[in-house]
């Protein structure tokens, strides 16, 4: 394993330190934590519902890169692929509460759900009103009442954008939670990997793929997917993912938003080529794409791969998606 790091144990604090020091006008670190909170001038002036997200590190720029006016109020970084602890989340909640309550945006992993839950209980003891929405956009995993359910993956960035914009516009906590759930229900993602990520403490890739193989349906923590197949031209990959995702939308009229997301080790060049194929295929299917975004938004360390997110969006959401924000990475 070759990585530009120092000690494996220092990865997250050093990364957060690098991030806040190179963006001091936008964010600051909460003392004694790896949580990052807005530091812009508007933050204290315009009171709003606090929006806190977080999770394991390794998905940068998620979440700290989305802290800023119009998006998150704070983000909490756990160890690599490890949910942050409740006390850190609690600190972030306390730092952003402006009396109108705090919405927690959690990706659906048992660790994240449990730690955010414990933090919520701690904050409620301080009479802070808390609501939680749990993002589970990854349709490569079967859903069921009796299982962990679907994972939260790249769609999280879109959820954070919409909720952040709505919160800035003055929406109250209860309405934000309702909106958030609606957005989540309308957001579907599948990812593919060409090469697995290497967790620094493990030192080798999470799984091996042959030189001509890709894995369909991977998660953002090296979770294996539903099929290993030969790699195919980008347009066939795009068609395959679109097919799977569009099956989830009974009503294909109206506005859709798309996100083509690089997993960390895949160049922008390939992401744009893939996006071009996605737009071709959606046009052929007469699906109206009213918002699109391409880039490394929700990564998985050095994984080579890509994910496609499609959201059935109403026009207010499209407006929220398009609104300018002041963040490091949106």
């Amino acid at each position: 394993m070759k990585k530009i790091i120092n000690n494996v144990e220092d990865i997250v604090p050093e990364m957060i330190s690098g991030l806040v020091r190179t963006n001091a006008d936008l964010v600051k670190q909460i003392d004694g934590t790896t949580a990052v909170v807005r530091n812009d001038s508007k933050f204290k002036e315009n009171k709003q519902v606090g929006i806190v997200s977080g999770g394991g590190s390794g998905h940068e720029p998620l979440h700290a890169g989305y802290v800023g006016d119009g998006m998150l109020s704070a983000a909490v970084a756990g160890e690599v692929f490890t949910s942050p602890t409740p006390d850190q989340i609690y600190e972030a909640i306390s730092a952003v509460n402006q009396g109108q309550g705090v919405l927690l945006i959690v990706k659906n992993y048992s660790g994240d759900v449990m730690n955010f839950d414990m933090a919520k209980e701690m904050a409620e003891a301080d009479d802070i009103e808390i609501k939680t929405i749990v993002v589970d956009d990854d349709i490569s995993v079967k859903n069921s009442e009796f299982t962990q359910g679907k994972r939260g993956v790249a769609g999280t960035a879109l959820v954070e954008k919409i909720i952040g914009a709505a919160a800035r516009s003055g929406m109250n906590l209860a309405d934000l939670a309702v909106l958030g759930q609606k957005v989540i229900d309308s957001t579907k993602t599948i990812g593919i990997a060409l090469h697995a990520a290497t967790v620094p403490a493990v030192g080798h890739p999470g799984f091996e793929l042959a030189d001509d193989e890709i894995e369909y349906g991977i998660g953002i923590h090296n979770e294996r997917g539903y099929a290993v197949e030969k790699i195919r031209p980008a347009k066939e990959l795009a068609n395959e993912l679109i097919e799977k995702i569009m099956n989830e939308f009974p009503d294909q009229n109206g506005d859709f938003a798309i996100l083509v997301n690089g997993m960390g080790g895949t160049p922008l060049m390939e992401q744009y080529i893939f996006a071009n194929d996605v737009l071709n295929e959606l046009a052929a299917k007469k699906v109206k794409v009213s918002f699109s975004k391409v880039g490394n938004l929700v990564t998985s360390l050095d994984m080579e791969g890509i994910s496609l997110t499609i959201m059935k969006a109403d026009s207010a959401w499209i407006k929220y998606l398009n609104e300018p924000v002041t963040t490091i990475a949106w």
Partner: protein, 195 residues
Amino acid sequence: MKLELVDAKKWINLFVEKLEKNQTDLNELDTAIGDGDHGTNMKRGAEAITAAFEKKDPENLSDLYKATAFAMIQKVGGASGPLYGTAFLDMSKAVKTDNLELGDLLQIGTDGLKRRGESDTGMKTMIDVWQPVSDALKVNKFDQKVIDNALENVKNLVATKGRASYLEEKSKGHIDPGAQSSAYLFESLIEIMGA
């Protein structure tokens, strides 16, 4: 049988030792069906427990379990932090006034896991080790075999909770990392009880 402070402290210390020794193995188990960090997580927890004991030597059973719980909750994160943390926190509360039989104590811990994880036996998690160990202790039939059987059983289960559940059928044939770290916990207990 009940565990008094001295032995309980030895128990946790032995657990800590095993976690530190087996970090890589736990990471590899987690790499196969999870995200590769369970060993690193538990190692961080182990160090936090040691630090807590050094900072303030626990004076009674309740403090011991509470310090263990807090170390787990505050330093581990992931799924295992809140799970182990909740189990030990509930155990700490249970022994506040009176010590309990080990089987009853661990049942309280197991119930904590189930509550926190919204889960139960048969889902291929650490609960599949905690529950049979608690059961065996209640009827005084606890030995290494109980742990071995539990791990063997866990191996053949299909995961429905935790990260391994995303693999569905493909999770079969692998030992759940949390089950393995719990096995270390209860193997430490055997060593104490034997002594």
